[in-house]
C-alpha cells in the first residue's frame, strides 16, 4: 500500500474513531447506570364482580296464639334506651295473646325515654307493677335502686315473670336489676368471623336447651349480642367459632338464659326484635315464644296489690243498710281504678266481691274469716296479731279462691269503714298489713 493511501486510511480511521468512542462511552455509561430491565408485573386483574353477599332467608311463621288475661308492664322510667317502635314486633304478639300493655315512662319526640317528670317515680313504678302479670325491662340507662329491685323481687315471688334485655351497642345499667336474680350481662359482644349474617357481629345460634322459649327453633340470628351468665342453665349456646370481644379464650357463650325458677329470661340483644331482623330465620318464632313466656305466668296477688286482684266487674255487698254512704264511696274508689262495680243486696258466688260490714255483721262472712283464722268475738283475733280491742279498729281481708276474689272490710263503726276507704284511696293501707292477706287498722 502506498504511503498516501495509508495516510488517507489513518485519517478516515481517526475520523471514525470519534463516533465510535462516543458510542462506546455512551454504551458503557448506559450499561453502568442501567444494568438490567424492569420486569413489570402484569396489569391489575381483580374480579370484583365475583363479590356477592349471601343473605339469610326470611322465614314465614304463622301461629294461632292462646288468649290469656293479664297485663305486661314495660319499664320506661329508667331512661331506657329503646323506642316503642323498635319492640313493636314483641308488643304485637303480646297483644295477640289478649294481654294489655302498659309502657310506663315519658318519651321525647324521637320516641326515646327521658327522665320521668314525676315527684316520685318509684311510687309510679310500684303502682304499675302491682297491676302487672309480667314485666319487661329493656336497656335501662339509669340503675335500679335497691328499693326498686326489692319491688321486682317481690313481684317475682308472687309469680310474676320478668324479661330482661340488654344490648352491647347501647348504654344500659341492666345489671343493677339482673344481679338480684343471679343474672349478669357480660361486657363486650359476641362475634363470629367465619359464619355470619351480613356482618361478623350478627351471629347464628343453633344450639338450644329444650324449653318453652326454644320450642320449634332451629336457628336464630342475634345482631350484636352480649353474653349473659346465670345461675340457671343457658337457653341458647354459641358454637366454637363465636368469640367474645373481651375474652381471649374461646368458650361457649349464652346469648339467652333463663333462671332456674323459670321466672326470669335474659337476652343479650335487643335489635333482633327490630324489623326486618325479627323475621330472619327463626327469630319470629323466638319472639312468639318470648310472648308466650310473658303471657302464661301465674301471677299471685295479695292485699297490698289492691285493687288489681279484682276483676273488671265487681259487686259491692253491704253488711248493713247504714253503710250505703260507704258503699257509694267504695264504688267511686273502684271507678277511679277503671273497675266497674255495683252495690248488691245478696252475694253472687261467681263474682268478685267487696264486702263492707261492721263487726256485728261478721257472721255473714264467717266462712271467709274462719278460713283465714280470723275470729270476731269480744275482741278481734288474727293469726298474726294478739287479741285486739275492737273499739276504734278495722280489718281488711283479701280472700282468694280459685274462681273469685273477695275483699272484706270490717270496722267497729261506719266511721272506721270510711277511714279505711280513705286509706285505700291514699295507699296508706299498706302500713297496716300484718300478712299478705290481712290488714289491721286503728281507726280514730
Amino acid at each position: 500500500m502506498s504511503a498516501p493511501l495509508l495516510n488517507m486510511g489513518l485519517k478516515i480511521g481517526l475520523f471514525l474513531l470519534l463516533p465510535i468512542v462516543a458510542l462506546a462511552f455512551f454504551l458503557g455509561a448506559y450499561f453502568f447506570f442501567y444494568r438490567g430491565g424492569y420486569d413489570a408485573p402484569p396489569p391489575l386483574n381483580i374480579s370484583f364482580e365475583d363479590i356477592v353477599q349471601p343473605t339469610s332467608s326470611q322465614a314465614s311463621f304463622t301461629e294461632v296464639p292462646q288468649i290469656h288475661e293479664g297485663m305486661l308492664l314495660v319499664d320506661g322510667v329508667h331512661r331506657n334506651e329503646f323506642t316503642k317502635a323498635e319492640i313493636s314486633s314483641l308488643l304485637a304478639k303480646i297483644a295477640d295473646r289478649g294481654y294489655s300493655i302498659d309502657i310506663v315512662g315519658q318519651t321525647a319526640s324521637d320516641g326515646r325515654f327521658i327522665r320521668l317528670r314525676s315527684d316520685n317515680p318509684f311510687d309510679l313504678f310500684a303502682q304499675k307493677l302491682r297491676q302487672a302479670d309480667s314485666l319487661a325491662v329493656i336497656l335501662p340507662n339509669e340503675p335500679f335502686s335497691s328499693r326498686e329491685a326489692d319491688l321486682v323481687e317481690r313481684f317475682l315471688d308472687k309469680g310474676g315473670r320478668l324479661l330482661l334485655i340488654g344490648d352491647p351497642t347501647r348504654d344500659h345499667d341492666i345489671n343493677s336489676l339482673a344481679e338480684r336474680f343471679g343474672v349478669r350481662f357480660q361486657p363486650g359482644y359476641l362475634y363470629n368471623t367465619k359464619e355470619y349474617d351480613l356482618n361478623f357481629q350478627n351471629i347464628y345460634v343453633r344450639d338450644f336447651r329444650p324449653d318453652l322459649l326454644t320450642q320449634g327453633i332451629s336457628q336464630v340470628v342475634f345482631y350484636t349480642t352480649g353474653s349473659v351468665k346465670s345461675s340457671g342453665p343457658g337457653l341458647a349456646y354459641t358454637d366454637g367459632n363465636t368469640r367474645s370481644s373481651v375474652l381471649e379464650r374461646v368458650e361457649q357463650f349464652f346469648p339467652m338464659v333463663k333462671t332456674s325458677d323459670d321466672q326470669v329470661v335474659a337476652i343479650g340483644d335487643m335489635t333482633f326484635l327490630v324489623p326486618p331482623r325479627n323475621s330472619i330465620l327463626d327469630n319470629d318464632r323466638l319472639i312468639s315464644n318470648i310472648a308466650d313466656f310473658l303471657t302464661t305466668g301465674q301471677r299471685r296477688f295479695d292485699l297490698g296489690d289492691f285493687p288489681y286482684f279484682l276483676g273488671d266487674d265487681v259487686e259491692i255487698l253491704l253488711g248493713s243498710s247504714t253503710l250505703i254512704g260507704q258503699g257509694t264511696a267504695a264504688k267511686a274508689l273502684l271507678t277511679g281504678f277503671h273497675i266497674n262495680s255495683r252495690i248488691v243486696g245478696s252475694e253472687d258466688i261467681t263474682q268478685d266481691t267487696v264486702y263492707l260490714g261492721l263487726y256485728r255483721d261478721a257472721s255473714d262472712i264467717a266462712q271467709y274469716l274462719e278460713v283465714n283464722g280470723i275470729r270476731v268475738g269480744d275482741s278481734l283475733l288474727t293469726p298474726f296479731t294478739p287479741d285486739l280491742d275492737k273499739e276504734g279498729s278495722g280489718l281488711m281481708l283479701f280472700h282468694k279462691s280459685p274462681d273469685r276474689n273477695v275483699f272484706v272490710i270490717l270496722g267497729d263503726t261506719e266511721g272506721s269503714i270510711t277511714n279505711m276507704l280513705d286509706q285505700l284511696e291514699s295507699s296508706a293501707f299498706r302500713t297496716g298489713l300484718v300478712s299478705d292477706f290481712v290488714g289491721v287498722y286503728r281507726t280514730p
Partner: protein
C-alpha cells in the same frame, strides 16, 4: 499561522490526535448520555407525612404519583407513608394510581409510624413494602357511617319520593350488606396483591387488626423490615439501575407548580388565572402542617379561600340551601381510628 505550526505538528503525531479524538468522543458520548438521553437514572422519593386520605389529599398524592410515572428520568419510586387511611374511594384511587405507576417503574413503599386501612391499601399497589419494626400496619376493613336508624323515618307529606329507598338509599340491613361487600373487595385486593405471601388465611388478617411491622412481615402483609435507604436500594435493584441520583418529587412538583403559578400571575396579575388552570390543585391544600404540593413560598391561605368557578367541590348542604331533606348519607371509610405508635 506559524504560531500554530507546532500544534499542527503535534497533532500530526497519531498518538496525540488519537487521544484528542478519544477525549472528544467521551465528551460527545457523555453529552448525549447525560443531556439528551437517557440521562443519569433517578430514584424518585415521595414523602407522605401523616395524612388522612381525603379527596383533596388523594388528589395531591395522585399528582405526585402521576409526575413520577410520566417523568422518564425517574427509574423507580420510593414512597414513605404515614397514614391511617381515610375515605374509601380516595384510598382506592391511590391504590389504582400506585398500581398504575408500578406497571411502568418499580415502586417501593416504606411504612413509617402508621400505615393502616386505606393507607395500607395504597401500599398494596407497590412492588415491595418495607415496614419499621414498630410500625403499626394493617387495619384492613371498612367503616360505614352514619347508616340509617333501625326504624326508617316516616315519609313527609311535603316531599314526594319515587321509591321506598329514594331518601336513604336502603334500609340499615342493606347498608350492612353493602359494608360487607366493601370489606370483601378490600380482602380481594389483599388476596390478589399478597395472596401467595400470606402465611395465615385471608379471613384472619382482614379482621381489622393492627399488627406491628415485625408481625406484618411474619404474616406476609409486608415484605421486609427496613428503612428509606433499604427502600432506595431495593427500588434501584428492581429497576436495574446504579449510580442513580435521588429526586424529591414533592419538591419538584411544588417547584413546577410555583413556576406555573408565577407565570399565570405575571400574565394576569392575580391568582384568579391560576385558579382556572389549577382548580383542583388549589383546592388540594395540604391537610396538615403544610403537607402537599405547595410549600412555604405559596400563599396557601389566599389560594385556599378563592371561590372556584362552577362551584366544583362545593358542600352539598351549601350548594342546595333550600333542599328540605338533610343531606347526610353514609360514607365509607378505610380508616383506622385506634391508638397510634
Amino acid at each position: 499561522m506559524s504560531r500554530l505550526a507546532p500544534l499542527g505538528r503535534l497533532a500530526s503525531k497519531w498518538y496525540i490526535s488519537t487521544s484528542i479524538i478519544i477525549g472528544l468522543g467521551i465528551i460527545l458520548g457523555s453529552m448525549v448520555f447525560f443531556n439528551v438521553w437517557p440521562g443519569k437514572p433517578k430514584i424518585g422519593i415521595i414523602n407522605i407525612p401523616f395524612t388522612v386520605i381525603t379527596d383533596r389529599s388523594a388528589f395531591e398524592i395522585a399528582s405526585l404519583l402521576e409526575y413520577a410515572r410520566l417523568e422518564d428520568s425517574i427509574a423507580a419510586v420510593v414512597i414513605t407513608i404515614n397514614s391511617p387511611g381515610g375515605g374509601a374511594a380516595a384510598s382506592e384511587e391511590l391504590f389504582f394510581e400506585t398500581a398504575k405507576l408500578r406497571e411502568k417503574k418499580p415502586v417501593v413503599v416504606v411504612m413509617n409510624d402508621l400505615v393502616a386501612s386505606g393507607g395500607y391499601m395504597m401500599a398494596l399497589g407497590a412492588n415491595f413494602i418495607y415496614a419499621k419494626p414498630s410500625s403499626f400496619i394493617g387495619g384492613i376493613g371498612v367503616i360505614l357511617s352514619p347508616v340509617p336508624a333501625f326504624i326508617p323515618r316516616p315519609p313527609n307529606e311535603r316531599d314526594v319520593l319515587t321509591g321506598p329507598f329514594k331518601a336513604e338509599g336502603g334500609d340499615r340491613r342493606h347498608y350492612v350488606s353493602l359494608t360487607d361487600q366493601l370489606k370483601q373487595a378490600f380482602a380481594q385486593l389483599v388476596s390478589t396483591q399478597r395472596g401467595d405471601l400470606l402465611t395465615k388465611p385471608l379471613s384472619e388478617v382482614t379482621q381489622g387488626q393492627i399488627f406491628s411491622g415485625i408481625e406484618g412481615v411474619r404474616l406476609g402483609l409486608v415484605d421486609a423490615i427496613g428503612g428509606r435507604t433499604d427502600a432506595i436500594e431495593k427500588a434501584a435493584s428492581l429497576a436495574g439501575v446504579s449510580g442513580y441520583d435521588l429526586e424529591d418529587i414533592n419538591t419538584e412538583v411544588s417547584r413546577i407548580f410555583n413556576q406555573k403559578r408565577e407565570r399565570a400571575r405575571g400574565s394576569s396579575g392575580s391568582d384568579e388565572a391560576l385558579t382556572q388552570s389549577f382548580p383542583s390543585r388549589i383546592k388540594g391544600q395540604g391537610e396538615r402542617n403544610g403537607f402537599g404540593l405547595f410549600q412555604e413560598d405559596v400563599n396557601s391561605n389566599l389560594l385556599g379561600t378563592l371561590a372556584l368557578p362552577g362551584g366544583i367541590g362545593e358542600d352539598p348542604n351549601t350548594a342546595l340551601p333550600n333542599f328540605p331533606l338533610k343531606i347526610n348519607g353514609p360514607n365509607a371509610y378505610y380508616l383506622y381510628v385506634g391508638p397510634s405508635p
